[in-house]
């Protein structure tokens, strides 16, 4: 087997990585368009409508504009950290998706001898990997805030770090409750555990067993992705643009990209943990990824909807909500779940 031609599964795997990477970039572009459109309709405007039909080419025009802009760096900025901060942010955002499954195993219409799962890699501690990589994403924001040598950036970076640390606890505890129910840390197994129906029509999704956990996960997810109503790192009325005040051109675009990819990842993980992943009625098994996309899209729409409906909290309210309400609720949720799992077996 020492031939120079790579084996079919290897080609399929690299193809899968390539496709997922590009889909993530495209989904970020789509999210930018959707956000502007939904925001416009909520505010009784039309939104972008010049580039392409209904303005759907607008994100690509924006990227071209950003590409041709001058890359500025403040003189007093720390050159090295200033450059790698957006790379860390975007890198962590993309890396987290590598363990997220989005469909059943497939042979690509018989092209492959052995089926490959629709997922870059299936590790048995996938939930923890997502958790670990998201926590790495903080460094991009903190370093950007520090290295810019600007007060607004520094305050934005500090706030972001404090916020993410506070909400990571509730986030982790919400995950732990699901892990207890499923008895596995692999996202694929967690999804497969949700197969079937109660009483013949209610899908056995964990959202019905863990309504409180789902609520905590979604709240913490909004805080982790720095979205409104928890978008303090970039509260523009107080901090100009927070941690990316000093960034321009493509390095700014990378922060932007990271934010949207993070949203997609948080929604995709929520879909897997609480909404039964790619499982759903009507469609045959091999089209499960359509269900997955639909569910992720609905969650993303919910995020956008929330951003343009709710005003931003005050910073102390955010901390109070995180520590005094969300964290005790998450602990309670975990304890009750543990007790029920032990009691009912």
């Amino acid at each position: 087997m020492s031939s120079w031609i790579p084996s079919a599964p290897l080609i399929a795997h690299f193809g899968l990585i390539f496709v997922i990477f590009n889909l993530l970039v495209l989904s970020a572009a789509f999210m930018v368009w959707m956000e502007r459109k939904v925001c416009a309709y909520i505010q009784d405007r039309v939104g972008p409508n010049r580039v392409g039909a209904a303005g759907w080419l607008q994100p690509f025009a924006d990227v071209l504009k950003l590409l041709t802009k001058e890359e500025l760096r403040p003189k007093a900025a720390d050159a090295l950290l200033f450059v790698i901060a957006p790379v860390i942010s975007a890198g962590a955002a993309f890396a987290a998706f590598s363990v997220v499954p989005f469909g059943t195993e497939t042979t690509l219409f018989g092209l492959l001898d052995e089926p490959i799962p629709l997922q870059i890699t299936d590790v048995n501690v996938a939930v923890l990997v997502v958790f670990a990589i998201t926590s790495m994403g903080i460094y991009g924001i903190v370093l950007a805030g520090w290295s810019s040598n600007s007060k607004y950036s520094l305050l934005g970076g500090l706030r972001s770090a404090a916020q993410m640390i506070s909400y990571e606890l509730s986030y982790g505890l919400a995950l732990a409750a699901v892990i207890m129910l499923a008895g596995s840390l692999s996202l694929r197994e967690i999804v497969l555990n949700q197969e079937g129906y109660w009483l013949g029509f209610i899908p056995r999704w964990y959202v019905f067993l863990q309504p409180l956990g789902f609520f905590i996960y979604m709240c913490a997810g909004v805080a982790e992705t720095n979205r409104a109503p928890f978008d303090f790192p970039e509260a523009e009325q107080e901090l100009v643009a927070g941690y990316h005040t000093e960034y321009s051109s493509m390095s700014f675009a990378m922060f932007f990209l990271a934010e949207y990819v993070n949203m997609v990842t948080v929604s995709a993980v929520a879909t897997n943990l609480y909404l039964g992943g790619w499982l759903g009625p009507i469609l045959p098994d091999w089209l499960g990824w359509i269900w997955f996309l639909v569910k992720v899209f609905l969650l993303l729409f919910f995020y956008v909807w929330m951003r343009w409906t709710l005003p931003r909290y005050r910073y102390d309210q955010l901390m109070e909500f995180g520590w005094k309400y969300l964290l005790p609720l998450a602990v309670l949720n975990l304890l009750v779940t543990a007790a029920l799992v032990v009691w009912l077996g």
Binding site: L81, V125, L128, A132, S135, W146, A161
Partner: protein, 169 residues
């Protein structure tokens, strides 16, 4: 393949650790320490212990280093200040001598330990050691006492920190 990966991760870990103390910017030190933790996590994965690797990232690289970063940012000392003359004199020659003795001792210990490796035979640990369920079971049965004592220790540290922070009132 695995050997190459081992050398890459080992090189990352060692070079980053050396640079942590080798250069003077505390911010870079923090980032380099995180890099070296990342390299260590890679080594754990090669040892077939993904759970340990991920905990290494979550706890050390994620949680603890963010606190380090916070402190460095809040103090905001971009460069180490030179020691006042009096203090420099105090730790100067004597400190240097103690340091040399200590490093020679550590080097001797390392060499001795490395020489032992060749003479002893290792038994491979059971293959299910990396299973999360087994780790949990071991923690709550065989090592329950150590586990509980550790949690008390952390509680003490937490109470201590709060007491220290409230001292002004």
């Amino acid at each position: 393949m695995e050997v190459a990966a081992f050398y890459i991760f080992a090189a990352i870990t060692i070079v980053a650790s050396l640079l942590v103390v080798g250069q003077r910017n505390p911010m870079y030190s923090v980032m380099l320490l995180i890099t070296s933790f990342g390299g260590l996590a890679g080594l754990y994965i090669l040892l077939d212990a993904p759970f340990t690797a991920v905990t290494q990232i979550i706890i050390y690289a994620g949680a603890i280093m963010v606190l380090f970063l916070f402190v460095v940012m809040l103090l905001n000392v971009p460069r180490e200040e030179p020691l006042p003359a009096a203090a420099a004199q105090l730790i100067g020659p004597t400190g240097l001598k103690i340091g040399v003795v200590l490093s020679v001792l550590i080097a001797a210990q390392l060499v001795w330990a490395l020489m032992q490796i060749g003479t002893r035979s290792f038994t491979a640990p059971p293959t299910d050691i990396s299973d999360v369920g087994n780790i949990g079971r071991a923690l709550f049965t065989d090592h329950a006492f150590a586990f509980e004592v550790t949690s008390v220790l952390i509680l003490v540290a937490m109470v201590g920190a709060i007491v220290l922070a409230r001292k002004e009132h």
